[in-house]
């Protein structure tokens, strides 16, 4: 693998450090982004993702740590000298210029040939479906169109790194799926390296190769969408990633007669042969005590056998069914890709395979094991 393009080394951001209420917005952030990669910074508001983006772009001073882009330390450079392109959340289109002039602006300042510019603008306009509004002014087009124009302006500019701040929040729902696909294809074909900031995990999952999940200024996990789903590092990412969210169950561990039993609230047992667990995880569980179990809704299987549950709601959405059932003193959610016949009140059986079980330490929130293996083994 080639050397990373962007490296954040123990980056900190403290707002108002001498004031009465200093805010430590970003703590000791280490992040390495490879060339050609799409990385999402994901978190709820106030998690530090926007501060991080603004530090990379140069709109915010780095309180401590260093940022290196393509081998140059950039954290002390002025924004214009970092060779970074950015699409702003508020679009920041130049009002006196048409959409076409806005998009071409970044290219003109580099004195490219006219035909080349026109061709590039036409290409990206077709991709983002803004061809018919190229000659209008920003004030004459809708919020979604402004957002697409701003995206076009950022993506067309040659730069080492492209930063996109909430790039698709205002996009028309019917266009979103297409635009996501086209954008991802465009970024790949052009070999661009992109960092996008979003609070919407659907967007992060759809576009990113790797997602940096942030909370309280601390990086929780930096991994591919699939690994975030299958191997969450802690309860926070486990519960945060996934729509619908992961089911969490409190359990007491029992080991006897060659079996491992997770006794849920109300006594229902999740029972697995000890031989299916890795020896290391078995070793850890044999100490007994409490654990928090996690299972993704689409891994909760409805069918004959299994533990008894009672359907509370069964909602068919056209391509998926969401079933909520009362189970072990709480509510468990199952997602099926076909229609489920059981109506509210129906008694059903639920099975949860060991391979789909996530085990967390309830005290620290740290993940202990996934799918019958200790975290260290996966």
């Amino acid at each position: 693998m080639s050397a990373p393009l962007l490296v954040l080394d123990r980056v900190n951001k403290i707002y108002d450090p001498d004031g009465p209420n200093p805010v430590h917005a970003v703590r000791d952030l280490d992040l390495a982004v490879n060339p050609g990669e799409i990385v999402a910074l994901l978190g709820s508001s106030g998690c530090g993702k926007t501060s991080t983006l603004r530090m990379i772009a140069g709109f915010e001073a780095v309180s401590a740590g260093s940022i290196t882009l393509a081998g140059r330390a950039i954290h002390d450079l002025a924004p214009a000298r970092r060779n970074v392109a950015m699409a702003f959340e508020g679009y920041a289109l130049y009002p006196p210029l048409t959409v076409r002039e806005n998009i071409a602006f970044a290219l003109k300042s580099r004195r490219r040939d006219r035909d080349g510019i026109a061709r590039r603008v036409a290409e990206i306009a077709r991709l983002l479906e803004i061809e018919d509004i190229l000659d209008r002014y920003p004030s004459q087009i809708s919020g979604g169109q402004q957002q697409r124009a701003s995206l076009a302006r950022a993506l067309i500019r040659p730069a080492d790194l492209h930063l996109l701040d909430e790039p698709m929040g205002q996009l028309e729902p019917q266009l979103r799926a297409h635009l996501r696909g086209r954008l991802k294809h465009f970024i790949r074909e052009g070999g661009l390296t992109v960092i996008l900031v979003t609070h919407d995990q659907t967007e992060a999952n759809a576009l990113a190769d790797r997602i940096a999940v942030m909370e309280g200024g601390v990086l929780q996990q930096f991994d591919s969408p699939a690994r975030l789903r299958e191997r969450p590092a802690n309860l926070f990412t486990g519960a945060f990633i996934g729509e619908p969210p992961m089911n969490l169950l409190e359990a007491e561990v029992e080991a006897r007669d060659g079996r491992i039993i997770f006794r849920l609230k109300g006594g229902a047992p999740l029972d697995y042969p000890a031989g299916e667990l890795s020896p290391a995880l078995l070793e850890w569980l044999r100490r007994g005590g409490r654990v928090t179990l996690g299972v993704r809704p689409h891994r909760v299987r409805i069918g004959p056998g299994g533990l008894p549950a009672q359907v509370l709601a069964n909602q068919w959405l056209g391509d998926q069914s969401h079933v909520a059932a009362s189970f072990a003193g709480g509510v468990i959610v199952s997602v099926e890709h076909d229609r489920v016949p059981h109506g509210p009140g129906a008694e059903i059986g639920l099975t949860i395979a060991l391979a789909d079980l996530h085990i967390f330490d309830p005290a620290s929130g740290r993940a202990i094991g996934h799918g019958g293996r200790l975290v260290e083994e996966t």
């Binding site: 996501r180 086209r182 969210p245 909602q315 056209g318």
Partner: protein, 370 residues
């Protein structure tokens, strides 16, 4: 038991007709979802039912009683608002208690009823707080509690889940039917989220430009949408639309990238017409054998996971973009050349000129009900 009947309702605002001859019937104890884009007239219709506005023509009957000239406080409805509309100068308790206080319920019974509904909605610990001290989710639950507390026979929900985050919205969507069942209330629920409409409605009425475009069960709307527009509104990712002209020789088929896609023979009457083929992303799969006669060659351009599904953008040789979706965890193709296979039994056909769905003929008896 309360049935809501709406007859030929029309409402204009300064010369513009925002509701045009709307008729609906919501049987006692059932839920009707009013679905449509913003500006479709959903909110006006709800306000007409609540009595905040009077219609220019038509009648509203609640439990058989004509509501013309009846002020909102005498209609016996409960309502929850998109912006919650909590009384900012009263505590959550007083907010919820307002409908009971107005009915002259004695203090002890008010306390009992408010606490019961608050426990059900898990806000019993914040009853003393004013609205500004509540989180968004708690505000929403307080607004719902206020609408439910007096056990109204008709409940109007004006997009109550819109202003909360995705997680809360999902939780509440699963919880709402349980809160409503057992109360026997007739419910009119307004939303712009098709998932909410599918999940919560016994029936869905699709409103656009002040008219009812289609009314039916969630399955009717999703599987047999009346128009291209409705097909596009239901489903994420949206339905794929391809311009085709069906031909009828040896069965009915359309041409797709040089391959023949066979359609239901019932579509024979559409042969030769300019049509639009509607293919839901989940009705398309990847063909294991690209040489198979029903496989359409494509290029895979991007893969974008979406809510426990994987959505793939593919492009046909003719440059048409198609979205394909499959459940998470099932294998898919690599970037580059591949082939797709279309489940033609789930294909929709629309007339290109009118945008209306073409129902297949007699050979498909299951479709007759539509």
């Amino acid at each position: 038991m309360t049935t809501l009947r709406i007859e030929n309702l029309t409402r204009r605002f300064s010369g513009q007709t925002v509701l045009r001859d709307v008729s609906l019937e919501v049987p006692s104890g059932s839920t009707l979802v009013l679905f449509g884009p913003s500006g479709a007239g959903k909110t006006v219709l709800l306000r007409l039912i609540a009595g905040a506005l009077e219609p220019d023509a038509g009648r509203i009957l609640i439990g058989g009683r004509d509501m013309a000239g009846v002020p909102p406080e005498e209609r016996g409805v409960g309502m929850a608002f998109q912006n919650f509309a909590l009384f900012p100068h009263m505590s959550a308790f007083d907010n919820i208690a307002a409908p009971l206080v107005a009915r002259g319920v004695p203090g002890a019974r008010v306390r009992e009823a408010v606490e019961a509904v608050a426990r059900l909605l898990k806000i019993d610990h914040v009853l003393a707080h004013p609205p500004r001290a509540l989180s968004n989710g708690q505000k929403q639950r307080t607004a719902l509690a206020r609408a439910l507390v007096a056990e109204p026979a008709l409940l109007l929900l004006d997009d109550p889940l819109r202003n909360v985050d995705a997680k809360l919205r999902f939780e509440m969507r699963l919880e709402l039917p349980r809160l409503l069942s057992g109360r026997g209330a007739t419910v009119v629920h307004v939303t712009q989220d098709y998932r909410e409409a599918m999940a919560l409605g016994d029936r869905i009425a699709v409103l656009d430009e002040g008219r009812i475009m289609q009314e039916g069960s969630p399955a009717d709307i999703y599987l047999r949408p009346a128009t291209i527009g409705i097909a596009q509104l239901f489903g994420d990712p949206a339905v794929n639309l391809l311009d085709v002209v069906p031909a009828a020789d040896e069965g009915v088929h359309v041409a797709l990238s040089g391959r023949r896609l066979s359609l239901d023979p019932g579509y024979a009457h559409a042969a030769g017409r300019a049509c639009v083929l509607g293919l839901r992303p989940e009705a398309i799969g990847f063909a294991p054998d690209p040489a198979a006669p029903d496989a359409v060659p494509v290029t895979v351009e991007a893969e974008t996971p979406l809510n426990e599904k994987i959505v793939t953008l593919v492009v046909t040789a003719g440059g048409r973009e198609i979205l394909v979706s499959r459940p998470l965890g099932t294998p898919g193709p690599a970037m580059g050349p591949a082939a797709i296979r279309i489940d033609s039994a789930r294909a929709l056909l629309f007339d290109r000129a009118t945008g209306r769905r073409i129902a297949p003929g007699r050979s498909a008896p299951a479709e007759a009900a539509a």
